[in-house]
């Protein structure tokens, strides 16, 4: 699979307000009952969406104002909990191409980058202002630029952050890093042969 360069993501955005949104909420475990990732887009935030509908509310992912959004704006510690890649898989398959948030859990972040999904962080005030702006006017065009590491939305413009390795991987199209790991397999084999627990007391 050849990866493509991801220099920017632009489009409309949906706000998903709340800290510590865990991967059980993003993708309840019953949707892990399959040997492929196919169809996961139907189940993203499934329980939250059903819950909102029952309460007469509209979850942002079902809100026609945000239909077709390609960015998601989240708060602190997004994607905490389970390591299930089904969570970012579902988000990507739903159509999201970039996430702006205050912070991400490490495993979720790593999974997202491996799918070519930039998950960038920004200051609390900037994230809150962006969420408010897109809620006020969902037609606002949001642009996430990985070259300048800035997000813009109408009059709003602010710095976003991404660890250097993740940024390089995305902008150079090397986010699918297996090729890099396998570049010199002999080196790995020689390395393993010298590990004390494989050499001296296996």
């Amino acid at each position: 699979m050849s990866a493509s360069r991801i220099l920017s993501v632009a489009g409309r955005a949906l706000p998903l307000v709340g800290d510590d949104i865990d991967t059980d909420r993003i993708m309840p475990a019953r949707h892990l009952r399959a040997i492929t990732f196919d169809g996961l887009e139907r189940h993203v935030f499934g329980d939250d969406r059903a819950h909102a509908a029952r309460d007469g509310r509209v979850h942002p992912m079902d809100d026609p104002r945000f239909a077709g959004a390609s960015l998601m704006v989240v708060n602190r510690n997004f994607g905490c909990g389970s390591s299930r890649e089904h969570a970012p898989q579902g988000i990507v398959r739903w159509g999201i191409r970039g996430i702006v948030g205050e912070s991400f859990s490490e495993i979720f972040f790593g999974n997202a980058v491996m799918l070519g999904l930039p998950a960038v962080t920004a200051a609390h005030e900037d994230v809150a202002a962006l969420q408010a702006a897109i809620d006020r006017d969902p037609r606002t065009e949001v642009r996430l630029d990985l070259e300048s590491m800035r997000a813009t939305a109408g009059p709003l413009a602010f710095a976003v952050h991404l660890p250097a390795a993740a940024r390089d991987a995305l902008v150079t199209g090397r986010w699918d890093g297996l090729g890099l790991l396998l570049q010199d397999f002999d080196q790995i084999r020689d390395f393993a042969a010298k590990l004390p627990y494989l050499r001296d007391f296996a």
Binding site: D24, R25, A34, I107, G110, F201
Partner: protein
Amino acid sequence: MATLLDKVWDLHTVRRLPTGQTQLFIGLHLIHEVTTPQAFAMLRERGLVPAFPDRIFGTMDHIIPTSSLCRPAPDPVAEEMIATLEANCREHHIPLFGLGDSHQGIVHVIGPELGLTQPGMTIACGDSHTSTHGAFGALAFGIGTSQVRDVLASQCLAMDKPKLRRVRFEGAMGPGVTAKDLALAMIRQLGVNGGVGFAYEYAGDTVARMTMDERMTLCNLSIEGGARMGYVNPDDTTFAFLRGREHAPKGEAWDRAVNWWRRMASDSNAAADDERTIDVPRIGPVVTWGTNPGQSVMVDEPIPDTASLPPGEREAALEALQFMGFDAGETVKGRRVDVAFIGSCTNARLSDLRAAASLVRGQRVARHVRGLVVPGSREVQHAAEAEGLDEVFKAAGFEWREPGCSLCLGMNDDKLSGAETCASSSNRNFRGRQGSPTGRTLLMSPAMVAAAAIAGEVVDVRSVVPRGGVVQ
């Protein structure tokens, strides 16, 4: 002057990648039926095969039924996932502890049990509770399915080295207090995201006195505090646990191993990036009231007034209270429970079952409570049965099950229904976690779950006098 994190990281660094990350060799790769089928498929698409099949071990735990071992499994989806892992392991000569195997069990219970988990190793698995193995002085962490693919293909991962936070537990544990309570108290103190970017090194006199089972419970819950890995430096307690285990070194190799393991521990004066202290004598039995593991109180303490919380946490706390059907100022003690679950990679080892059984012996589960005991592994199950613990639980009205993850995450038939409240020895009280979108989970120690099952409501385990003496 280096920490275990430094030493093990450096030892496993194959090279520095052009991206600046480390190409880290993975000494032990554990796999199960739920997060691997797509990884094997991706490998196949690229015409690759597992590079080090003898460093990979498979088990089944997440979706398998715990009510029967029959094949085909009554649930066709479970059967498909079981059969897929069997086929993948067979094709690539990966040892697999399948349904009915005497070594089968929850991946984080069997690794240590078989002596596969050893000090100084790097260990990865497509499951966030892989941090459990850190109890042995390993760097162990959860990975996603694309990373499972990477490890299968190369036995390596591209990683950034975390910072190190040393968490010192100081003082004696009070009566009725367990490693679970210490971990939950720590997460409340440091926050559910406090550990992001850190590995946790657990130290202090309390940890030094802990058994391996207790250390495993503590390390297991690292991820619930945001730390992807947590470890305890290896010591004589570690070595005594490993000695004689099936995959532990034998004879002269054992002595070489112990010498090397000792040297992998953090040097006594090695500095961490951050240090915190947990005052253990102040901790009582802990229960969660909310929908993340940091939302907890001691069992006799009122649920905090949301106005007293930092502004960023108020709204989430209000939502959690509403979801759980609690009011601020209430105590969790007295909350009626519908289901009592003793199981999971956090608390389903023999010592956990003994502690629970000591409260159950000669008692009856309350009429309205469904009680479930799910041993962590076949070995735990057999050892418990040899002591008659299964009879103790069954006589009290608990169901005694086959090993697996079960009601911890509700992937099989073991689920809450509707807005049932579950006293649970598991690790996550997230909304919907136990299989019902409106189900309510109260996390607590196995002894607290047992006491709640008997009383029919959450009680303070310290107020319950077990028949036949306390087992700690």
